[in-house]
């Protein structure tokens, strides 16, 4: 009896002790109680604040993070991390961030608030403004000028936003980061389905200049006619894919200086209307259902996505290729997507962080990444483009490069307001129109009033 109680006590104590074991895995070494943070409600014990991560070791250690689309991409970046660590002589720890669906940006913001964010991380182009205006990423202009960096080495679309100073409205004064790569959209095709359906091959139509929206609908209907689980067309329900339709009709999300909503212009509305018709009358993957797994299972004929999806799609079990997006009423159109490496404003070693960013965007590293099939290098170079064409499959890589030259709309943040707020309203309204629960006319009259709060800053 006494033994049992003693035994129990021993177990509890031992668990407590065991809990202290192996603490070298702890990244934050708080040996104190609650901190006197600005958080209300803390019973402040007056102690030291947290130090940012510095693991005891030789020299600098940096943590960096990207958001890989799939495991193959994560493996590529892990390999690059190892080779750069040797090259730069710093301790690099690569963290593959959550998937698209797991709130990559939100996690970063939470970590930035708690002081546990990585030193260098990748951000989608649209989020640069949000992070810059919160003051959580570093202005690299001074460090860049001191090195051999040149803004013109990179595509102008991304560099415009990366060097935009929201306070003065000028470009070139600041540098929020360097673009990792660029990407355009194309249509991934299930060639087997196209042949089985006996429709015209879109690649031939594109070569003949006949690849229009009407022809596109014909192909989609033809594939859909196969019935069963076969669907003609699929796209994701975020702003990239549906934005193409709006852009290709001559419209756009914003006016030319990106200070107001332009979704209610006749062209924008016409584009969205065409998309809604497509969903209503043709065989399309239901709005909101993930089209990629269905495409990879071989059940979808045409699938709109960016270049970054290529490494994942290479593993499908059918014959696939790509074709450029069909020409809209206003001619060919595409998105120029980009993301950038930025530096955490609280990093312990800004110089090392800048060096990492510069190293990650050299032509060699970019070529390495592009070779794995993902994305196009962000450095303007014919060599890079030529090399890109050789990274097959898909055979028709030219489709992506066509997108580069054919009037792409550069993805960009909303300096004049809050992009996340704008997008959440736009997503909901567009979804309502596409699924038929809201009429296009209602949408046209209300959309820009609904998105006004996003511009209030």
């Amino acid at each position: 009896m006494k033994l049992r109680r003693l035994g129990l006590l021993f177990v509890v104590l031992a668990m407590v002790l065991a809990a202290c074991g192996g603490d070298t895995t702890d990244t934050t070494d708080t040996t104190t109680g609650p901190e006197p943070t600005e958080a209300p409600g803390t019973t402040g014990a007056p102690d030291t604040t947290q130090a940012p991560d510095t693991t005891e070791g030789d020299g600098t250690a940096l943590r960096w993070r990207t958001r890989p689309d799939n495991e193959e991409e994560a493996a590529v970046y892990a390999g690059i991390s190892d080779s750069l660590a040797a090259e730069l002589g710093v301790d690099l720890q690569y963290e593959p961030g959550g998937t698209e669906t797991a709130g990559y940006q939100q996690t970063l913001l939470t970590e930035l608030a708690a002081g546990t964010a990585p030193d260098v991380f990748w951000l989608p182009g649209t989020d640069i403004a949000d992070f810059a205006t919160r003051g959580v990423i570093l202005d690299l202009r001074a460090l860049a000028d001191a090195s051999d960096h040149n803004d013109d080495d990179f595509y102008p679309g991304p560099m415009f936003h990366l060097s935009f100073n929201p306070d003065s409205g000028n470009t070139g004064e600041v540098l929020w980061g360097l673009p990792r790569d660029v990407s355009t959209f194309a249509l991934y095709m299930n060639v087997d389905l196209i042949q089985e359906a006996g429709v015209d091959d879109p690649r031939e139509l594109a070569a003949n200049g006949e690849w229009t929206w009407d022809k596109f609908v014909e192909v989609v209907d033809g594939i859909g006619a196969l019935g069963g689980e076969v669907i003609g067309y699929g796209q994701s329900s975020w702003w990239g894919p549906y934005g193409f339709w709006i852009n290709a009709a001559g419209g756009g999300f914003f006016n030319s200086d990106r200070t107001a909503c332009a979704l209610d212009t006749p062209e924008s509305v016409a584009g969205l209307s065409a998309l809604a018709d497509l969903y209503a009358t043709s065989s399309v993957v239901p709005w909101g259902e993930d089209a990629e797994p269905t495409f990879r299972a071989g059940n979808v004929g045409l699938f709109q996505n960016g270049r970054w999806a290529t490494p994942g799609i290479r593993t499908v079990g059918f014959d696939f290729d790509v074709v450029k997006l069909p020409d809209g009423p206003a001619g060919p159109s595409n998105w120029l997507f980009w993301g950038a490496y930025v530096v955490n404003a609280d990093t312990a070693d800004p110089e090392a962080a800048w060096k990492l960013v510069a190293a990650l965007t050299t032509a060699e590293v970019q070529a390495q990444v592009a070779e794995s099939g993902a994305n196009i290098p962000s450095r303007v170079s014919q060599e890079a483009l030529d090399a890109f064409l050789t990274f097959t499959p898909p055979e028709n890589n030219q489709a992506f490069l066509d997108g580069l030259s054919e009037n792409p709309a550069a993805e960009g943040p909303l300096w004049a307001g809050s992009w996340p707020e704008f997008v959440s309203v736009m997503d909901a309204e567009v979804g309502a129109v596409v699924t038929g629960s809201k009429s296009v006319d209602d949408y046209a009259t209300t959309i820009c009033t609904l998105t006004e709060p996003a511009f209030a800053g």
Partner: protein
């Protein structure tokens, strides 16, 4: 426990332990008073914002009580003993907390979890040993002893192996190296002293000296026993609740300073179209889901109560969705809801084809896009919610029916009552209190809908669903707090929702009381 005794007071002669206790209380009183002064004048300790008046209040009250206790102990007044007990209990808890925090035991769970996987098989060994000991009780003498020793041996060996495999030795070392450093050693000292004081306060010699009655001793026991619950409640529930109320009156964003803005959040909420939409959605959801989760459960429970063979199996099957957890259930339904290859649409198709066999029918099967279509999106949530809840409610009703004597039913039968009559006149009134309970809990669950839309809409749609069809107040709260970093606004949403739930619950209670049901 000692019966009432005349207090023993040795005038002028105070035992050592009494002096020690009084000194300890005095020391505490003085120390906290000094702390109070330091915080008040911001010398040496820097606290800004709201914690400051709170800390000052806490230190001040503690100081006054400690000094009071010191004097009372000196005077052999029992109240001193009680106050000292409470103060030392709180101090032991707080100092103990700080000690463990300083030695990083709380977060050390991470390290334990890394090696815990290795220790799992030994946990199984312990479990086997425990089962064996329970099994051994029914056996005959010799076997009982053998099994008992075997089981004990197994448990000890298993425990030892478990602790070693999860890193007891390195943990011991880290613990020792950490605890000898200030501030850990200081906190530890305070904890040890307060625990010593507590033990001392409970000894019989103290009881004799103070002349405490058994009733007074019981009070101390009671406080000791409820302290884990109450302290935990204050720290992790009441405290945050109060903070939440305060935060809802600020514009805090979780990252920077908060500024007081009064009822601005609530006013904004009142005019917020998204919030309106979420309320509409949850109303639609509730009106469908709550009755559907309760009424069939009532019927099923009365059927189960017929005490036919196999009832236990049915009960177990009905409980299954509740046991499985919301994430698993939602992911399964996500596959079932797939408009193209999902089983539900396929079943509808097959069912329609079956119906079409009838010569005069020629229907086309509706193949709704369950999760993509704004008209069916919320309905999909209703179905999943009902699926998860109906079994649980059935089991609750069955338990409620357990107390009904079967003679009641037999009497009704002899009077010629049919199934429906029995149900209406016996089952329903008997179950009235259970029905209230079930309705309230189901309503509270339904109004807090979050996980189902969150999981079913991912990854393509936001949790709001197509055209905000599945936006619920809790989802809106989550988005404001953790995606838009408007924590003040989110707190306000929480309080408004709480108010709504509270009012609805009150209405339920009122209606039941009017029908004279709750007077049971």
């Amino acid at each position: 426990m000692v019966a009432d005794a005349t207090p023993v007071r040795s005038t002028g002669e105070r035992p050592v332990w009494l002096v020690g206790l009084a000194m300890w209380q005095l020391l505490l009183g003085v120390a906290t008073a000094v702390g109070f002064g330091m915080v008040a004048s911001s010398t040496g300790i820097e606290i800004v914002g709201t914690p400051r008046p709170l800390t000052m209040a806490a230190l001040g009250i503690f100081s006054i009580l400690a000094l009071l206790a010191a004097t009372w102990i000196w005077r052999f007044d029992h109240r001193g003993r009680l106050i000292a007990f409470i103060l030392n209990l709180v101090l032991a808890a707080v100092a103990g907390f700080f000690t463990l925090q300083a030695v990083n035991v709380f977060n050390g769970l991470d390290a334990l979890s890394a090696t815990f996987g290795d220790g799992l098989p030994f946990l199984a060994v312990i479990a086997v040993g425990w089962l064996l000991s329970g099994w051994s009780r029914g056996r005959s003498g010799r076997w009982e002893r053998i099994l008992l020793t075997a089981s004990r041996g197994l448990m000890i060996v298993g425990a030892a192996a478990l602790l070693l495999s999860v890193g007891l030795i390195p943990g011991l070392w880290t613990f020792l190296t950490r605890i000898v450093l200030p501030p850990a050693i200081i906190y530890l000292a305070i904890t040890v002293f307060s625990i010593a004081a507590l033990r001392l306060l409970k000894t019989s010699q103290v009881t004799k000296a103070f002349g405490s009655t058994s009733k007074q001793l019981e009070v101390m026991d009671g406080i000791a026993f409820v302290s884990p619950n109450i302290l935990g409640f204050l720290a992790f529930l009441a405290g945050p609740l109060a903070i939440s109320l305060f935060v809802s009156l600020t514009d805090w964003d979780g990252l920077s300073e908060a500024s007081f803005i009064g009822l601005r959040n609530y006013i904004d909420l009142f005019a917020d179209p998204f919030f309106h939409r979420s309320l509409l959605n949850i109303l639609y959801f509730g009106l469908l889901a709550i009755p559907l989760s309760i009424i069939p459960a009532l019927g099923l429970a009365s059927a189960l109560n017929m005490k036919l063979p196999g009832m236990r199996l049915f009960r177990a099957l009905y409980f299954l969705p509740a046991v499985a957890g919301v994430v698993g259930v939602a992911l399964i339904w996500k596959q079932l809801y797939n408009a193209t290859i999902g089983y539900i649409n396929y079943a509808i198709l097959q069912g329609t084809e079956l119906l079409n066999l009838l010569p005069f029918l020629d229907l086309t099967a509706p193949q709704p896009q369950w999760l993509s279509n704004p008209s069916t999106a919320m309905l999909s949530m209703v179905i999943v919610f009902v699926f998860s809840t109906i079994g649980f409610n059935t089991v609750l009703f069955v338990a409620g029916l357990q107390g009904v004597p079967p003679s009641l039913y037999e009497a009704a039968e002899l009077d010629g009552a049919g199934i429906w009559g029995k149900f209406r006149n016996i089952t329903v009134p008997v179950l009235a209190p259970t029905t209230v309970f079930v309705t309230i809990t189901t309503t509270i669950l339904a109004l807090q809908l979050f996980s189902e839309p969150f999981i079913l809409n991912a990854p393509q749609l936001s949790p709001n669903g197509p055209a905000n069809a599945t936006l619920t107040p809790v989802i809106y709260l989550y988005q404001n707090a953790f995606e838009r970093f408007k924590q003040g606004y989110a707190s306000a949403i929480g309080w408004v929702l709480f108010l709504i739930i509270f009012v609805i619950t009150l209405i339920y209670f009122r209606t039941q009381r009017e029908e004279g049901v709750l007077t049971k």
